[in-house]
Assembly symmetry: C2
Homo-oligomer: 149 residues x 2
DNA sequence: GGGTAAAAATTGTATATACAATAATTGTTG
DNA sequence: CAACAATTATTGTATATACAATTTTTACCC
């Protein structure tokens, strides 16, 4: 559906204003669908993001600051996100012996399990993005990267 | 900068997975720049969104439910957002006389003032989106609309 | 017209985010 | 090596979001 209908706004001051609203709105839409599919697995989108970062670096441990700088939303609080995941037994935290300031995080077997189960459903979620063609996806990625400068 | 560098991820499972991450990441980036420019004016991006909706319908009053369905993020709580704006004197709330279930909202003169002041700075904010050309902006809007189906 | 359903908004509660302040540890330098 | 600066993480606090439960008012229907 057109953005104009979605938020009932007839026109925008410029194509660039519309870009701003469109990116924000599409992101909100996408976050919602993502939250809904993750909910049965007991994790939020940001927790999922952290788990994937940890799986990506596995078996290498990675410190909290490194988790933060790989996160989609840099302003979420990695300490608290990781603590939530630890309470669920999905990640392990250990103080680094060489540098006791830092805390090394890793994904547990249970964390891997949860991700595997989500993986199996991922294709159908990604399918909801296939209203556009692959070449449009490429073009979209190119323009978004350029937008951020 | 490329998304890969921004979140330090070398590759994505597919162009469509990358679209999902790219939209979310770009939105987070945009929200942040927006929050920063609005902060000196004492309002948050969602409050700004509500004020603009009210200015758009002015002088016609509009009820809370209507505000919600025009919002970028439908899940934010219009009651509380409007209450915040009311406390700052930027909007007026009044129970509708014909239908006492509904609450009609309107923007105040002070609300208009705040928006005017923000308007004056908006061009420089929108300029940060002009890394892309106008035709790329059009294409971006077209693809995002199509993406949402 | 009385009972039930629907519409509209508010409230409650748990969780998440923004951002500043603090604490703990290590690095640096005179 | 002592003092100070930098790094890394945690905590505090106000605000915002998600979502369910509740309240108030109106509409419907037998």
């Amino acid at each position: 559906m057109s953005l104009e209908q979605d938020i009932k706004q007839e026109k925008f001051e410029s194509e660039f204003h519309k870009v701003a609203v469109n990116v924000l709105f599409t992101s909100s839409w996408l976050s919602n669908t993502n939250a809904v599919r993750l909910k049965p697995h007991g994790i939020t989108p940001e927790q999922y993001n952290v788990l994937r970062i940890l799986r990506g670096s596995h078996p290498k441990l990675i410190m909290l600051a490194e988790v933060t700088c790989r996160m989609i939303d840099k302003s979420s609080n990695a300490t608290r996100l990781v603590e939530k995941l630890r309470q669920k037994g999905l990640v392990k935290r250990e103080t680094c012996v060489n540098n006791r300031r830092q805390v090394d995080i890793s994904i547990t077997a249970k964390g891997h399990d949860v991700l595997s189960r989500i993986d199996k459903e991922s294709e159908s979620w990604v399918a909801t993005l296939k209203n556009i063609s692959k070449s449009e996806a490429l073009e979209l990625n190119r323009i978004l990267d350029k937008l951020r400068g």
